[in-house]
């Protein structure tokens, strides 16, 4: 073996060492893949381990007589394209609490009205029974009930389970202020009046109540009381 051959072998060895050193440094110095940015409320799914990680298998051997011009760039070394296997699986962060979503109003509140007399005559006492229902799982606010009484009846009294009421003699409007109607709450109250002398058959006493809430206005059914004569017809002559 000649001296020239010795030098070539030495240079080849050095080059191999340099290339190997550079390859190792590439693996060590490459930053680990940053965690993907996830939207709030999502948890990270662990990345499956790559099934094949191409390992640097060959260092290209220099052909011919290389001129030692410095450390060659390790361009021929295939970069690992797969995600390296995670060495440590971080515990997934606890899911953030869901933002408070307001429950929608599913149904209109209900107001139903009844009257105790289908027929009436002057002097009769009529009792209007009003029922309001909140069928929703959320409360309703600014709740009030109003009832414009017929001029054919005179207001006497009212009975309510809660809230405050008033009767305006000028407008003949009776008003109940409830404030809040709780979820699924059902309230029943009564208004009592007397049929006055203006009530003459065959007229009818009509009455409708109105429920007002922050969600809007709901009208009740209309009750009808027929005014009838005081006596059956006389059908005998002598």
């Amino acid at each position: 073996m000649t001296k020239k051959h010795d030098y070539q072998a030495l240079i080849t060895l050095l080059l191999s060492l340099v290339v190997a050193f550079a390859t190792v440094n590439l693996f060590v110095l490459l930053p680990s893949s940053p965690a993907p940015l996830l939207p709030a409320g999502f948890t990270e799914t662990p990345t499956p381990a790559p099934t094949e990680t191409p390992a640097p298998t060959e260092t290209p051997a220099p052909t011919g007589t290389p001129t030692p011009t410095g450390t060659p760039a390790a361009t021929g070394t295939p970069a690992p394209t797969g995600t390296p296997a995670p060495t440590e699986t971080p515990a997934p962060p606890p899911p953030p609490p869901p933002p408070p979503t307001p429950t929608p109003i599913l149904q209109d509140p209900v107001i139903v009205k009844q009257v105790n007399l289908a027929q009436a005559q002057p002097g009769d006492i009529v009792v209007f029974t009003i029922e309001v229902i909140n069928p929703n799982p959320v409360s309703l606010s600014n709740v009030s009930v109003s009832d414009a009484l017929s001029p054919l009846v005179d207001y006497l009294s009212a009975s309510v389970p809660r809230g405050s009421f008033s009767f305006d003699a000028g407008s003949r409007v009776w008003t109940l202020t409830l404030g809040t109607l709780e979820p699924n709450e059902r309230l029943t109250f009564t208004i009592t009046a007397r049929v006055n002398e203006q009530a003459q058959p065959p007229n009818t006493i009509l009455n409708t109540a109105v429920l007002t809430t922050s969600q809007g206005v709901t009208q009740s059914n209309t009750t009808t009381t027929l005014l009838v004569p005081g006596n059956l017809p006389g059908t005998g002559r002598r």
Partner: protein
Amino acid sequence: MTHGVRLVAAAALSLAQISIAQGVGEGSSPVRLSVPSLRLRDVPVILLPIINGAWDEARLGAREVGLLQTTGRWPNDTWAIVLAGHVTLEGNQPGPFYGLGSLRPGDSVFLHSQDGLVWHYQVKRQYSLKPNQVKSVYRRDGRLLLLLTCASWDEPSQTYSRRLVVEAELVAQDKRLGGTSAPRPLPLSSKAR
């Protein structure tokens, strides 16, 4: 295509419902009354209006019965029909309802419409009322017919102190063409009783 079929079916159903409604005489007021057991035949039925707060009985003639305004207007209406007739006339002559008290359960009563429809009622019972028991004749049952007249002559006051009511129930109706066909049973009413 399906939509068109549905439209046609809906139209046919509506027509059928109209026919059924007309078949039971809804909206057709009675104009004549017949009570065979009282030998009453085709007695005119007039409307007895409410004037100044009372039924205007002065309109009721010797040969008529009056349908009280605000009671039922036709068979199967919301309310029972109430017909009032004189028991006696001037000179103590018998009125059309003179023998009303002799009716017994099962006796037949017929109402006739202007267009030839006949409703067949059967007497169920009779009872008397005070003159001021007006609400008692407002019965929420359109199959009922109440025949009303005066009863219990009170000599000192020279008035009738009671009102006799004969209650009959609708059992059949018939579109009588020439008066030869027999009444047929009514279809079951959809009205709540």
